[in-house]
Symmetry: C2
Subunit: 401 residues, 2 copies
């Protein structure tokens, strides 16, 4: 058995970011940048008004002055001429400042009297003016490669005039569930068997993490069938298997994949739920073998598959978004396997995050996994803790799963 951190490091080590593809900006949200986004324009493109009001030469706009209104320049309709010290032009938020003007007298401080504007408050040079390039200048780097694009980033890339964006191809993950006792939802279930949920849950997790899942047909507990199922995998970035533990942890999957040239790295991790975790490489494809138990599979996927997807997607600086919470119930000391307790996470009246693990933690209770807000992490050999202790937690919602 190896420790979680070592397992994760060994899973990530051989993974390389996928190649680059161009996507329309409208489809880029949630994708990972494959190159920097540089500004193609300067914003604002020239000095512009920050308010509705009147463009003036500040030196000629002391309180009490009267200025001749020589025009109006709504955004998109710049004033063609140049204003002289005694003149003014009506401007609006975003309007280009006319030539000759260096400040804006805001509406509230001005009185319009016929063809004139009376200055109510003296104007300083530069007042209510957004200088050219205040937001960004052409050529500046706005977004770094490796960043997963948010809606705000998409807006920024649009403003910087990018109709197309270079992103990493979505990592393709083949998901292979094995077991004589399982069937897909709606299909006939063998006597005493159960409906397989791992393929669907893992595919959903892969999708939520920005990957593309390829769900393979369920394979029976048969070495030949397992070998055959992985014969024509095609272009996948990662093969994820679940189960194969019905006659000993992963023996069948391991044996089946051995016929495809499996290079096994490790297959046991000191954690709960989910000790049997297999890592290796088969036919040139990295392999992550998850436990067949659905709760164990999902917890292991959270700890190992999500980081793997981030690495494959080229996302930089990704880490599990661990938080600290106040323990809501006493905890016994832990043994040598790191534990991950399904828990309720809430904010108390003072706004502090609290965590209360469910009383029942049996890994067969899939319903409690769905009901959990997150996981309470118990390191190996952690001491007993009293309520109020600070403990590390992971919120599922922070991971989109």
């Amino acid at each position: 058995m190896i420790a979680i951190e070592e397992a994760r490091a060994r899973i990530l080590a051989p993974l390389r970011p996928t190649g680059t593809e161009m996507v329309p900006l409208a489809a880029a949200c949630g994708r990972v940048l494959a190159g920097a986004v540089l500004a193609r324009r300067t914003q604002p493109p020239a000095d512009v008004s920050a308010m509705d009001g009147f463009a003036v030469r500040a030196a000629a706009a002391a309180a009490g002055a009267r200025l001749r209104l020589v025009g109006s320049a709504p955004a998109g309709h710049p004033f063609a001429g140049r204003i002289e010290p005694g003149e003014t032009v009506a401007v609006f938020t975003g309007s280009l400042l006319p030539e000759g003007a260096d400040a804006v007298l805001i509406q509230e401080d001005a009185a319009r009297e016929g063809g004139e504007v009376r200055v109510g408050e003296s104007v300083r040079p530069g007042q209510h003016v957004r200088p050219r390039g205040q937001d960004f200048a052409a050529g500046e780097r706005l977004l770094a490669p490796g960043r997963r694009l948010t809606a705000r980033d998409v807006g920024l890339a649009a403003a910087a005039d990018h109709p197309w964006i270079a992103v990493h191809r979505r990592p393709v993950v083949a998901v292979l569930a094995t077991g004589d006792e399982i069937a897909l939802p709606g299909e006939e279930v063998p006597a005493g068997g159960i409906v397989s949920s791992n393929s669907h849950a893992l595919a959903a997790l892969v999708g939520a993490a920005g990957g593309e899942a390829r769900v393979l047909p369920i394979v029976p507990d048969d070495v030949e069938a397992i070998a055959a199922a992985t014969e024509r995998l095609g272009a996948v970035d990662l093969l994820v298997t679940t189960g194969g533990a019905s006659v000993g942890a992963h023996d069948l999957v391991r044996e089946g994949l051995a016929r495809r040239g499996l290079a096994l790295d490790f297959w046991k991790v000191a954690m709960r739920p989910g000790k049997p975790l297999m890592h290796g490489r088969v036919a040139g494809v990295p392999l992550l073998g998850l436990p067949g138990n659905p709760v164990s599979a999902l917890v292991c996927a959270t700890l190992f598959l999500l980081p793997a997807l981030a690495r494959l997607a080229g996302e930089t600086g990704w880490a599990l978004p661990m938080e600290t919470a106040l323990l809501g119930a006493p905890l016994p000391a832990n043994d040598r396997r790191a534990d991950h307790l399904r828990a309720r996470l809430e904010h108390d009246a003072a706004g502090r995050l609290t965590v209360t693990p469910f009383a029942r933690q049996d890994s067969s209770l899939q319903r409690l996994l769905a009901e959990a807000d997150g996981l309470l992490f118990r390191p190996a050999d952690a001491p007993a803790l009293a309520p109020g202790a600070e403990v590390p937690v992971l919120r599922f919602s922070n991971l989109g799963i």
Copy 2:
């Protein structure tokens, strides 16, 4: 001007959840349940072994007893016969407990000697057995309507044997950007104009929130054109406009929509950034008119469009995921408009969330919106605060935007 809470309540009041559609389970992650998910099966379907070991009659399995090994029952291959008190059958995690057995002797406590198994530790009735229905029983309600499905929920629905799921149709949001000075990325930009980013940013936000955006062509600042653009809106659940403020807050959009029968509810909210916020109904479609400024538009979309999408999608109990953070810099008192400061959010060494607003908050700085981790909420008339004060914050990542 009305307060944010009132504006939100008035925006949400007329909205009704969309209708129901069936989607394959594999496409259901992130969708909102339109009905309860009931268990179609009992899980486990019978008493099953929780461990690898030997099924026994506990009364006959005291330490030192020898049991005759009469068979093996891997998961998916139940033992056909019935075991008698002196007999045992090899079982594995998930194996059906053979008839006659009431407990499992785990492998570690057993010694196999030829055709016999010697009991190392006495076995209690029910030990290492997962009773039938421990996870759920057929007919039980597993997931409530109005829930947005996670990957874990998808797994549970699979285990409960649902190949199809009834969800609310994705809300369709038409996005209409207006302005003489704007053009879409890659298109020719008018002299002194800028590239429109609102359509893209809002479409991304709508998509991230589970809606479907329909981006309309940009419309010039022209009443007729605005009226024409909304003439054949078709089946949309919400019309979102941006801009139209170039000659006064929303005047043009308002006037254009008036020709389509706009019933205006309100159009000013006491907040910053983004005072001009228009709400009403046009040609039977709810209308949300956002400011043209991209930062203001995104902040207003966060406060008003996201809740509207949750309501339309039928999601129950949705609320902005406000958190409490420790202030990292002093703040001056606020005026009568609630403020939303772009800010850096970090966890300090003790794991506490801290918030530091950017020094510059000019609403024209779109880049700082992309760089922000979240917003610091300053209520109207909030007093000055010293570093270390607890303040309400909103993390963009918690909203997927």
